[in-house]
Symmetry: D3
């Protein structure tokens, strides 16, 4: 079975894929004919596909996020690859394929990631800080198992957010060793809380974001997390204007560093500076890693990466 | 008695003034001598002043925010007016002067302004919105009687914030008449809440800001108000993620319009757009009015105004 | 008869519409066939439409700005609605439809708007200012009855410019009441003159701008209006460098506030500051109103609005 | 006699200088004493100077733009040279010094420059263009003999504007030879008109700008010149909206290239593009030349030049 | 034979053209058919073209950069002209057409341009500077005969780079006459070296750039030229950190003036300032000239030009 | 003996200090008197100091970078601490103080740092890369023992550059563990080379930068390092345009990430992205650490830090 990432022009292939998008459209011909405009995906990438001359049955059979068996031909349309579907049918139980094999996900299992996050949380000495962090994590506990860290920018896959958090926690631990003036409780809390509202900011299924939620648009994950910290304090009987509460809110509010990047205040605590630069380092390197990973080994250059000044990455092998 | 605004170079004068700042410094002479570096103020403006050869008694007698009787001479130092003090003593009870006569304040009394704000609040139909607004106003009720709207930018005087709110409410009412699609409840609430955290963001006395508070620096008035709305909802038993709560938070969070001006989200409700532009119009016109008001009638140009692209304003009388 | 705004995918409909654009094109088929690429419009919006297999007669029958009777089917093409025309013929006299019913226009009649503008002009006390304003209005008197205020940004419809002026005059009157230091003559003149050259900057028919004029491109409406004020002064025997003439030119030249927004000088008179912010407030609220008005009631969000930081507007109903 | 440019720390010197600025100030001592705060200048540069213990007679004797004989000592104050005056008296007739020897001026005499400009004007073939140019030059004919091209930026000296125009005309002639598609009439007219309103935008004496005029602030030289072209057309009976009139206005309006640099429209004619880049090249090279000229030969680096990205210029002699 | 520039909608024509691009594609029809997607070019411009129903032989016959004889029909597709090919065959020897007649090239022959560059190089007095320049020119001697100065921006044709250099050298010579403080050796060297690495930065054939080279992307022509100067010095036994070597590197490194335009340092020598502004003037005027030249005489406006603030140029004929 | 960092207003103290700056100045008195304007420093900070009534002997006795014994009084001048010197004499051999005790330096000894750097260099597998790195390090071997990493921004002290390199190498090693796709040779080489030319870009003594060198201004450390890599390749017989040479140059050239921050190309290799963000993280955290370290423990806020968006850092102790 051929992986999406390996398909090239003029390939004829058979395989199982995920239908990421399904839309009924009409051709320009007279009279216009219905066809299905699809996106085929697996864990290695995705490709647009057309099922010309779709029958009424076809139009009822296929739906987004369903698994299918496809026989197809790869063609070039406007300089991009596109699949012409020769045969297609829904996957059956006896085919033995399962959805989770077809989605991109973090290289570590969600369970392990969540376990690590809980361990770090338990290691926060300050009881009030720990309880506030636990309250906020509790709000998204379930979604954290699959939420991506972003729509497209970085860690945009199943478990991406938890993976990003764990990597940042490792880096934070290393830095606390290198620079003992950093307060480990604050840095841990900051790392766990900084993107904690993302699962409520975006509507995602299986790690794929379909849109921003109403709250995501009107309030945004940065202010949502700040509000959650206030809610946590009030519900836990902690003074919502105590310095440590402000400190946690400051870490969250300032982690995008600049106003034009979405932060209403700029970092003014050592841990806030650390948090922003740890976040940047991890996100940017992940963009590079993901781009290299989804680009065929035969290509010297990845596609352009929006989050890296729109530059492509070159594989130099000295 | 001569008003600060009327003093010109080489004037010799006697009058009562407020000591806005008092500092003990040393001259460059050998041996250096102590002198008092002062700022004299009244409701029309302020001027730096020097008391050369300050005696030990002088150093104990004068303190900031005290009233004094001064005999002085106006001189020019580095192109700016400065008072050389000839005689100075603290004001006495029998002098019959009172502090509030010497500070700049809004042209309408605080009582009246607060009354108007309460009237408008009472006119909010939606009970939950009204209660949330009342909760937030309740947090700063006392300070609202004197808080300025900013450190220097605009409405920087006794009662300036309440005055700004009342003027904006008038403008808001006019616009709701002109454009009935605007929701009056939301616009009223937005106007009252948008700067409601300013009295806690800045430390002010008699309308004069001395510095930003810790919370002001780490969280900022925009996020503080958003957090207060969450606190209000939780304490009042309203769902803190109900659409109307988000809506109020959106109005507050977006009222600076752009990220680089401090807003983590941009206006996405009709009332949010209205709020931002009403705020801008009122603040900018007040800067003009204040500058014209504190510039002697004999001057054609005001000083440069930072909030107006650093431009001075010309009095054209056609 | 179905309004454009109400049409949805798969609707079959009959109705009268305005042909806003008509173009003859060829299909990709071999041999290619001619078809008509059309834009159907009414007062509520517009939609692209195709007449496949256009006959030679068809190609001569239909022209832009003509009224037609159409039987059509709504389809989706690249995520946007598009009409497949089943039958089409020009409207006849006996159909009883008239052009002006099919174009978007200001909610107040041009006559009334122009009347109001004249009334305000007559109320300008300073004779020279009034005459200069009258001279400039005289240059576009006729076009003012239908000119839009912009190509797409705001008030982009029949009578939009006059409507924008009248709304701004109302707001200006309110502000002169709130802030008596504003000179009413200057503010009225500024509001009437600020966009007065727009009807000559853009080529428009029935409120629809087709392109910028040569003068619009090379000189621009801001400098055109400044030149007209000079011309008025010279022709009326007023010194073209008198302070009041400069003042009027300053109001016009500075009304976009910043150089990057097209103003060669920044506001330096109280009325110039007021003019800019009145203009901004009215234009932005109109963008919101127009977007809400042309978005079906069933949609919670309007499309993105370029003049509002590319944000969509949400209808929050608390 | 020692030139300003040659004075170094601890020099004692005698010579004639121009008093560019004179101000009476008071020392910090008790009681404060009057002293004169002066700026001494000659054609090679300027230095601040102090006359300590100024007598009442001194205060009446010295005034700006007067010539004086000075005996002084050069000292360092806050890292900058400053003259302590030992003796000073006004220059007398018998001293045989004259004002114009003490001011910086263009290296070619004003007469010659004006003559060249007239010659070029006479060479404009198109009668209407020539007459409009003549009308505008006529407005500032007298001031053109001494007006500088800017307050400090470039060509900031006696005759600087005419000198800038002549150099640009030479460069324009060269380019018309290199690129025959350029219209020489338009380019000549554009070069002569682009800064023609500067003598009315700034108040200058002997090539030294003291301030901007009211019209300079409210309208600015770019729009002033555009208005003058309109005035010229009206007074000369030429249609003020004829293409060639617009063309001339376009050249003037667009010559700063970008809105943030003061141009309300961007260059859209070949000659407008040429005009902007000729202006830039000549102004920037003159800044370099002036900086090298006023820096002692012994210095490798000039001071920082604001118009050249705040960079200093190094004299590399290979 | 009809030139590309002269073709208009519905023209039927026969002529010889260059195949600038050739791609095999499939139509949307069922089953899809192969067609050739072509770009026809000559020295006056280029047009997209389609050969519908391409035979297997067709697919093997036509290749990029080949000459063909075409009978075609001009149509409009999405508002742009496009050729429907009726007949096509490769050019034969007996047709007597040659490749170089079909490409855009500088108006002066490469031979002459290279000759002029060598003459100027020989005129550099300083032996070390001359040798370094010769070394760098030697690296691209052959490619200089055809290299364009840019991919699309300006001088994007056969010999464009050498032509740009020669024009700049003429302008440099004129300026050295006007301003004798400029060092002619440095200015000549700077002009020759500033873009000398461009032939290695971009991969070009017959003046047409297909892509950037690896070195072009990773190092860029500015740093490449700086490195070449170091290499030249080392290989020629000149101290690579001698002031004159730094000077040459400074000229190259600073010639884009600002960091955001690619220069790691800003101009800090008189000749560096001159170089940047000569480069800007020549490049911008060439953009204008090229746009006017490739726009039919009947058009008043050229297309928009990216390098000129995205403005079109108007042909004003007074 | 009191450390600079511990001195507060009105303290009288005795101790040994480093004279970081010494300048002879004159008072404003009549006649003016000479005084010494000094900067006292030790490893914890620095303070301005005045020796009033300096004798001729004083003026000859004290010089920059000398050690002195001082009795002084701390005063406040313009809101900043300043020392009035009561007694001062040069340190004598028998005082037993040595220069290196009085300068700020990295917390790890230069020897150790250099040793670590050599160890890492030896661990580079690719022979050519290792030799190029060694050649470049060899150029500044001696200066690396004391060179700071910047003038004021970060690591501005004795050994600061080597310290920055070592910390970055540790971080780089950690990341290579976390993300095995990173090439360790390239990342090590990039970290060592990225600022390797700084010791030649700035003139420094004991870790204190006095000014930029000529090469530092005209070429800059980024291009200098790129040129050195070329020189290394040529001298070592390696092709200067081999991919691995380009790769090293790319790492150096792109490490400031953006053009406006001084990088002529943007990161396009995984290791280049890592290098930039490692550099940013280490530099920013060091700014925080240095500011906290030099701020008295009693202060809650550090001074504003230019490299951190001009924000001060708050010590939150939860």
């Amino acid at each position: 079975m051929t992986l999406i990432k390996q398909l090239t022009n003029q390939d004829e292939f058979i395989g199982y894929y995920l239908l990421k998008e399904v839309e009924i459209k009409q051709t320009n011909s007279t009279p216009p004919k219905d066809y299905l405009d699809l996106v085929l995906a697996d864990a290695t990438g995705e490709l647009p596909a057309k099922l010309w001359d779709a029958s009424p049955l076809d139009k009822e059979t296929f739906f987004p996020m369903g698994l299918v068996k496809v026989k197809g031909l790869v063609q070039t349309y406007r300089d991009r690859l596109q699949v012409k579907i020769i045969q297609i049918r829904p996957a059956k139980t006896e085919d033995g394929v399962k959805l989770t094999d077809f989605i991109r996900s973090a290289p570590i299992s969600s369970k392990e990631l969540i376990h690590t996050i809980h361990q770090v949380m338990n290691g926060i000495f300050d009881t009030e800080i720990r309880k506030i962090v636990e309250f906020c994590v509790g709000k998204v506990e379930e979604k954290l198992e699959h939420a991506p860290a972003a729509k497209t920018h970085h860690h945009a896959y199943f478990g991406g957010l938890a993976y990003h958090m764990v990597r940042m926690l490792e880096l934070g631990e290393f830095l606390c060793g290198q620079r003992p003036f950093l307060n480990a409780d604050l840095l841990k809390a900051g790392i766990i809380l900084h993107d904690i509202a993302k699962p409520e900011e975006m509507v995602a299924q299986l790690g794929i974001v379909s849109e921003y939620s109403l709250q995501g648009k009107l309030v945004g994950h940065i202010s949502m997390a700040s509000n959650w910290i206030t809610e946590a304090a009030v519900r836990l009987g902690i003074d919502p204007e105590a310095p440590k509460v402000m400190g946690l809110q400051h870490l969250v509010l300032s982690h995008h560093n600049l106003g034009e990047w979405g932060s209403p205040v700029q970092p003014q605590m050592a841990e806030a500076v650390a948090l922003h630069y740890i976040d940047a380092l991890d996100a940017k390197l992940q963009m590079v890693e993901d781009a290299l990973h989804t680009t065929p080994e035969t290509e010297e250059w990845t596609p352009m990466i929006r989050g890296l000044e729109n530059k492509a990455i070159y594989r130099l092998k000295p």
